[in-house]
């Protein structure tokens, strides 16, 4: 793609840049930032209508490093979910992109994460999963492998939390996993996620080169390259058009997204149907047993209503309502008072 190519909004890819990263060179998070801005460019995301949300951690810093023209809120540790819920209800025209870490989401923020997913808050929820706390220098997080050893943190005695399975159990409507080394897959998942109706959780294995990149860690570049299984390849067709059926039966599957876009899934794992929750649990459980990283779209449900829909909001974002719209009249006050005992 040429440097001068513009998207539908007439913007260059560079217009989606943020500030220079201050992460370690080679950090998986940096590749993800790049893919986010690239996907946003390709999707022609209107940056004015994007909010970048995060908690605290190396991962949570990254919103500073992409899409500098979007508002961002770097909140507190583990609490990005609640803040984003408020933002999205205050202005449901915004597209929220949340970036969190495995510690931020799986440890301190676990409760908020599960409840956000349960509410189906419309947003893209990216977890940059490295199995450690990068920013505080390498302690194990809840996604660290059982029995894993690192130079810094010793041996991990606890089973790993699988954030995709957790999301799924909380009725998540879009569950995906990827690997920071797979730029293309991340971009296609992101584009689909941008068009998704509710919460799109993308758990991206993102090696911490400083604290957790030994070959025997399932969060290392090595492991990601060697033990990755790709479930499906995503083609994303933006816009409302119907797409022609031209796939080999059973090898491909089309899913229409809420805004009318389509995802065409080329199945690499024949048996898995990403619209079937039980199948999703099955592939995750299998991957767990075999210690492989399955990547791709694990589950999608375009039916579940979102927290915004459940709120039956007026069209105009709440934040943009005028005084007339939100302060009832004097007559209304009189009516309310008349209903009191007097």
């Amino acid at each position: 793609m040429g440097r001068t190519k513009t998207n539908e909004l007439g913007l260059l890819a560079a217009d989606y840049n943020g500030r220079p990263s201050t992460l370690c060179p080679g950090c998986g998070h940096n590749s993800i930032s790049n893919q986010i801005q690239q996907a946003a460019f390709e999707y022609s995301l209107n940056q004015n209508m994007v909010v970048k949300m995060s908690g605290i951690g190396c991962s949570s810093k990254t919103p500073a490093y992409f899409m500098g023209r979007s508002h961002a809120f770097n909140t507190i540790h583990g609490r990005m979910p609640s803040v984003t819920t408020g933002v999205v209800l205050a202005n449901h025209h915004l597209k929220a992109i949340g970036v969190s870490g495995d510690g931020d989401t799986g440890n301190i923020g676990f409760g908020q994460f599960k409840h956000l997913v349960r509410r189906n808050v419309p947003m893209v929820y990216i977890i940059e999963n490295n199995g450690v706390y990068g920013l505080t220098k390498g302690q194990f997080s809840a996604t660290a492998d059982f029995g894993q050893k690192t130079k810094y943190a010793g041996k991990n005695e606890l089973p790993a939390i699988d954030l995709c399975a957790e999301a799924l159990l909380a009725d998540c409507s879009f569950v995906a996993r990827s690997f920071s080394g797979d730029a293309k897959q991340i971009r296609s998942l992101l584009r689909a996620a941008f068009s998704h109706r509710g919460t799109a959780v993308i758990d991206i294995i993102s090696p911490c080169v400083t604290f957790n990149d030994a070959d025997d860690s399932t969060k290392s570049y090595h492991w990601g390259k060697e033990h990755r299984e790709i479930l499906n390849e995503l083609g994303f067709v933006q816009g409302q058009d119907d797409i022609a059926v031209d796939y080999e039966e059973g090898k491909s599957q089309d899913v229409q997204l809420h805004d009318g876009s389509w995802v065409r899934l080329k199945k690499l794992d024949d048996a898995h149907d990403p619209t079937d929750r039980a199948s999703a649990f099955r592939v995750l459980e299998q991957a767990r047993k075999e210690q492989v990283i399955i990547t791709g779209l694990i589950y999608i449900d375009q039916e579940r209503s979102t927290v915004v829909e459940n709120a039956r909001l007026t069209d105009t974002p709440l934040a943009n309502l005028t005084e007339e719209q939100i302060r009832p009249s004097k007559a209304t006050l009189d009516k309310a008072l008349a209903e009191l005992f007097s």
Binding site: N74, V83, G86, A90, N91, L318, A319, N320, L333, F341
Partner: protein, 623 residues
């Protein structure tokens, strides 16, 4: 012992024969979950409609069913509306507290109790009250209830109407007003009104036929008094919710906790009634969060995005919100937090009132966080701060705490009709796309352009390429960029301090009541107001001591507080907490005058009362 019914006349005449009219208190002792609240509020409303200033106070336990509950009704012809810690007339259905309740009556008091078994337990037959300086009346609660033959499930509930009828007869409470109150309570539905009022009447008639009025206490309609004219009755939490609705609240997130839940529940109802667009769609959203950390997080998010946002909680919730409100203070995000105070520390007593969160809330957040606090004293201010809090939060771009308490929040109070907001909303310094256009896209989120410490913000969704900024709880420069620079930090914190000084001027100013020649003064705030005014009257009337009075409405303290206290030899800071928290804040803010500040503080679950305040002050004055 003296049990008075037709079978038994009083042994002695305990009073001089003088009638005591509209100047005493009832206390009704029942157990919770039995529906006695309906009866109590009916009595309260009936008295109110008779033109008698009447104040209710519900003392209920922290459980759902079967534990002791007391409801006080004070009637006072002079319109003193503070709770008194005493009652002359006891009605009790609660066998378990009978002894202590009787013991608490003053000599010459009245005790009314069942002669059979209102709760299905045949205990009352064996009661023999121990004091012979009281008037007793016994009523056949069960028998009368049975006559109406209510459904089994309703029996306990309607049995409470028996005491309403008995009291109506004995104390001359207007039956028409009782019927009116019941009609209001049941939303005009004929069947329950009929059933309940039927029982009231039955009891009234029974009492008329069987009881001989021997005690001196009487209620009387006050048709010429204006106290209750144009007044209404409401609970503080409903007033707060209504105020918020007229303050244009757009987003509510909350987590249930006594005594704050009814703020959110009233919001839910009022919003559903009054806040929809033409297609019936909501101009608000309300979320029951998974906990207080999430509730505050959500409103901080919504406030940041530009919606008027609020939550309501109580002590434990305030503790859990510390980290988030620190973020909101430092990142300068508007949000409104109602704290309906209950007794702490810790879980404390969830159904008892206090003013124990003042200091902690003002300092809520590690580091040098300082929070804005509003302190409503009555229904009118609950309503007013209900809407104004949003103006202050958006103007100052900071969290605003409104510290009400259980006393205000969960009791039905007499109030004047609320005034419609007298000024347009203040949405604060928000730059629109057009503003940015005009400014050539030049702006800095944390630059103090106007010299008041308050800077400009943009909302997400603003359609201008320079609109965005990066919000963070970490150190930042004027452009909201991360900075560890000494000067950036310094400038930012100095500006925040300056903003807080601006707040001292913007926020509601203290209310002052002066008399001639006063050498001493009281400073207080919130729900103590009625009791203090009463105490001041007594001090003047009984001891000829003039005391001036300043009521604080907001933190950080207005400079006016400092000016006021400088005018007196001694200043008594009166409050309902253990440590004298406002006195402590005043010592911090006005060190020069600290030696002359005296704390009058108590925290035992009960609202402060005039007699106690007066006694404390006299003692400390050495009088």
């Amino acid at each position: 012992m003296t049990v008075v019914d037709l079978q038994q006349a009083p042994a002695t005449q305990l009073h001089s024969g003088q009638r005591i009219v509209n100047d005493f208190s009832f206390v009704v002792a029942t157990t919770n979950g039995t529906g006695s609240q309906t009866s109590n509020n009916t009595l309260l409303r009936a008295l109110f409609k008779m033109g008698v200033p009447a104040t209710g106070k519900n003392l209920f336990p922290s459980n759902i069913y079967g534990l002791p509950t007391w409801f006080y009704i004070r009637v006072n012809k002079d319109n003193y509306r503070a709770h008194r810690n005493k009652a002359e007339v006891l009605v009790t259905y609660n066998f378990d507290t009978f002894a202590e309740d009787v013991a608490a009556l003053p000599p010459g008091g009245v005790c009314i109790y069942p002669m059979d078994a209102p709760t299905g337990k045949k205990k009352w037959n064996v009661v023999t009250p121990s004091r012979d300086d009281l008037y007793y009346y016994r009523i056949p609660v069960d028998e009368l209830t049975a006559q109406l033959n209510p459904a089994q499930a309703l029996k306990e509930y309607v049995a409470n109407m028996v005491y309403v009828g008995a009291l109506a007869y004995l104390f001359n409470i207007d039956m028409a007003q009782i019927e009116g109150a019941l009609s209001y309570h049941f939303g005009g539905k004929a069947k329950p009104i009929e059933m309940n009022f039927g029982l009231v009447k039955l009891a009234y008639d029974w009492a008329k036929n069987n009881l001989q009025k021997i005690d001196p206490y009487w209620c009387e309609s006050m048709p010429d008094a204006t106290f209750n004219k144009d007044m209404m009755m409401i609970e503080g939490n409903a007033a707060a919710a209504l105020g918020a609705v007229f303050g244009g609240v757009e987003f509510v997130a909350w987590y249930p906790i006594t005594p704050s839940s009814s703020v959110a529940e009233n919001l839910q109802e009022y919003l559903a009634s009054y806040r929809h667009d033409a297609e019936g769609r909501a101009t608000y959203a309300i979320v029951q969060a998974e906990d207080e950390l999430a509730a505050i997080g959500m409103i901080v998010g919504a406030g940041w995005a530009g919606a008027r946002s609020m939550t309501a909680t109580s002590g434990p919730g305030i503790s859990l919100m510390a980290e988030f409100t620190g973020l909101a203070y430092f990142a300068e995000v508007p949000a409104v937090i109602w704290d309906i105070q209950r007794m702490g520390p810790s879980t404390g007593l969830p159904t008892r009132t206090s003013q124990g969160d003042v200091l902690f809330t003002h300092f809520l957040g590690h580091g040098d966080t300082r929070q804005v606090v509003l302190l409503p004293a009555n229904m009118e201010e609950c309503f007013q701060f209900g809407w104004e809090a949003f103006d202050f939060a958006e103007r100052l771009q900071t969290p605003v705490f409104v510290l009400s308490d259980l006393e205000l929040g969960m009791n039905l109070h007499i109030s004047s009709k609320f005034k419609y907001p007298d000024r347009p909303m203040d949405r604060g310094k928000v730059l629109t796309a057009e503003d940015l256009q005009k400014a050539g896209g030049q702006w800095a989120r944390y630059r103090d352009v106007d010299g008041d410490g308050i800077t400009y913000r943009t909302l997400p969704g603003t359609d201008h390429p320079n609109a965005a900024y990066f919000t963070r709880g970490t150190g930042h420069n004027e452009n909201a960029g991360y900075s560890e620079k000494v000067e950036d930090w310094h400038n930012n914190l100095k500006r925040l301090a300056h903003k807080m000084n601006t707040a001292r001027e913007i926020l509601p100013q203290p209310v002052v009541q002066k008399s001639k020649g006063a050498k001493i003064a009281i400073v207080s705030y919130g729900s103590n107001d009625y009791a203090i005014k009463e105490a001041l009257d007594y001090l003047k009337a009984r001891r000829d001591i003039s005391v001036d009075y300043l009521r604080i409405l907001a933190l950080p303290l207005s400079p006016k507080v400092g000016e006021f206290i400088n005018g007196y030899d001694r200043v008594y800071v009166v409050e309902n907490n253990e440590e004298g928290q406002m006195a402590q804040i005043m010592r911090i803010d006005f060190p020069e005058k600290a030696p002359d500040l005296r704390s009058i503080a108590r925290c035992n679950g009960m609202p402060l009362d005039a007699e106690w305040i007066m006694a404390q002050l006299l003692e400390m004055e050495g009088k």
